[in-house]
């Protein structure tokens, strides 16, 4: 599972994406994910970003949130995680950012067993994950630029390196013009794009979106989904928990359905019809 690989990151691809010279090239579709720099020809198994095996999670109050969940997500996948409230979607996301630990089973993120992670290594593994939420979680007294820069500042990035990275991700999400506004002055869609920009600054391997369109109207929701698709095209694996059946059905991506803590369906190019 563990393979050493040159540090790649999406920074370069993001640059390519926004620079006019490469506007017609589509880097993510011309190479297999997870095989940068390797000569094409030999078939290479895509690297696995996330693997869960027999994962059970029970809380001290006796509630069992997950029952024997198996889930493998290869690099470059776009996965919808669906299911009624309380099915275990949030628990899976909490396990991935290691806010919670599995009671039984193994959770591997980028080849690391999260249960064996030392406390001091937890922040580093979290930087491999970009995460956005329904409620954006922006700091109200910081501008868009400062909110995005915050993620770099608090992880010890050198000050002079912060500005260029922030500018780059703001260009990717299309917020260059709003960089100096406060979250309160932005629309819901712009706030979510700010959150997405912040989630991108560490060049994540896995992008987690927890109900990213829950607070947005349908049109804006589509904009956000388009943005997530673009990020996915750049080679970033996306895992999106959602209730939005319309979006899931329209995109025909892989759908993992949870019910009562179990994976009841795992299909590629699938639809989703809500029954709750």
């Amino acid at each position: 599972m563990r393979r050493s690989q040159p540090e790649r990151g999406i920074g370069a691809s993001l640059m390519a994406m926004v620079s006019p010279a490469s506007s017609d090239s589509r880097p993510s579709q011309t190479r297999l994910p997870g095989t940068p720099g390797k000569p094409a020809g030999k078939p290479v198994r895509p690297r696995v970003v996330l693997a869960m095996e027999g994962v059970t999670k029970s809380y001290p109050n006796g509630k069992i949130a997950l029952r024997g969940v198996d889930l493998v997500v290869p690099e470059g996948d776009f996965v919808f995680l669906v299911g009624p409230s309380g099915a275990g979607k949030s628990t899976i996301l909490k396990l991935l950012i290691r806010d919670e630990m599995a009671t039984k089973g193994v959770v591997l993120l980028d080849g690391r067993d999260l249960a064996r992670l030392k406390r001091k290594d937890v922040p580093r593994i979290r930087r491999k994950i970009g995460i956005v939420f329904q409620d954006f979680k922006l700091l109200p007294h910081k501008s868009v630029r400062e909110n995005v820069a915050f993620a770099l500042e608090v992880t010890g990035a050198p000050r002079q390196s912060i500005g260029p990275v922030v500018d780059r991700v703001l260009r990717v999400v299309g917020l260059t013009g709003q960089a100096d506004q406060l979250p309160g002055q932005l629309s819901g869609g712009e706030q979510q794009r700010t959150a997405i920009a912040r989630a991108l600054v560490h060049n994540p391997r896995l992008f987690i979106a927890d109900e990213p369109t829950g607070n947005l109207d349908p049109l804006i929701s589509w904009e956000i989904i388009q943005l997530l698709l673009r990020i996915n095209e750049l080679g970033v694996t996306v895992l999106m928990a959602t209730h939005n059946a319309e979006v899931v059905t329209a995109l025909r991506k892989r759908v993992v359905a949870l019910e009562d803590g179990r994976v009841v369906r795992d299909q590629t190019e699938a639809a989703y019809h809500r029954e709750d």
């Binding site: 806010d99 979290r126 979680k137 700091l139």
Partner: protein, 293 residues
């Protein structure tokens, strides 16, 4: 390392500034609590000085036989002066005793003058370092040949020692209780300030900030609240120094001058140490619950 400290200080200052209301509330609480603490310390210092003064007033009086050899009396006086329990020895001659008596009771002059001889004995008056040594010194004196008898104030001394002991114990007890109250209130206020920023802490955790990057800005912030609170308290005490000294002098009457000179410095150090210390402690305890999972 320097970059990290600079970052923490900058974040701490931002934290204080962006949450002005909470910072002001925390600092105000800090000032009130430190003022309470320092007020109590000043009061107890006064009480202690008074008690020390009272203790030093305890005098062993040994009456000297009229027949005693003046040389023996002199030797005794020297010996007493060298005892570790003794601070001061004075010899009051028969004549002096009579003069003292007359100055206290001028009405009795006629009666006294009608007496054929001076009936008052000469005496040695011995001041003690600690009233608990009364018995030792008194017993020693009783066994000396020039001494006729020792004025028995054992009961009075015992009572006084008990009362002083109780007062001291009560003072320390009150100080401990108030100290704990101050600790809890300040720690709780800082906890409130930290809890009100749970969102910010959560974001830091989610973007992969290490524990140190989350913790230290808050600890510096707690230290700053403590420092500001302490400086304001010290400034208030400085301004109130005159009136406080007057009240203290009036109230305790006997407050020794040399005590008041160091009280100010001691109180300032206690206020500064307590303020910064509890500020840091409060932040450390409050932030802990967000880091340990």
């Amino acid at each position: 390392m320097i970059a990290f400290v600079a970052f923490s200080l900058r974040r701490a200052w931002q934290g204080l500034w962006h949450n002005r209301l909470m910072s002001v509330a925390a600092t105000a609480t800090m000032v009130l609590m430190l003022a309470l603490l320092s007020g109590l310390i000043i009061l107890l210092t006064g009480l202690d000085a008074t008690l020390k003064y009272v203790e030093q007033e305890v005098q062993v009086v040994a009456y000297v036989k009229d027949s005693a050899n003046p040389q023996d009396v002199n030797l005794l006086e020297t010996a007493l002066g060298q005892m570790p329990q003794v601070t001061e020895v004075s010899y009051v001659s028969k004549d002096q005793a009579l003069k003292d008596f007359l100055s206290r009771h001028p009405d009795e002059a006629e009666v006294v003058n009608s007496l054929p001889t001076n009936p008052l004995p000469a005496s040695l008056q011995i001041n003690l370092r600690d009233p608990n040594d009364y018995l030792d010194v008194a017993t020693y004196l009783r066994n000396q040949s020039p001494v006729d008898r020792v004025l028995n104030i054992k009961q009075t001394v015992d009572q006084m020692v008990t009362v002083i002991g109780v007062l001291r114990a009560v003072g320390i007890g009150v100080l401990v209780v108030v100290g704990l109250i101050v600790l809890f209130i300040i720690v709780n206020t800082i906890r409130l300030a930290v809890v009100s920023r749970a969102d910010e802490i959560e974001i830091m955790r989610l973007v992969g900030a290490s524990d140190a990057f989350i913790r230290w800005p808050f600890i510096f912030e707690g230290a700053m609240v403590g420092l500001f609170g302490a400086l304001i308290t010290i400034a208030v005490l400085w301004l109130g120094q005159g009136p406080i000294t007057t009240v203290m002098a009036d109230y305790f009457k006997v407050l020794p001058v040399e005590a008041s000179a160091t009280v100010g410095r001691d109180v300032a150090l206690v206020v500064l140490g307590t303020g910064v210390g509890i500020g840091v402690l409060g932040s450390y305890l409050s932030i802990r619950s967000y880091l340990i999972r």
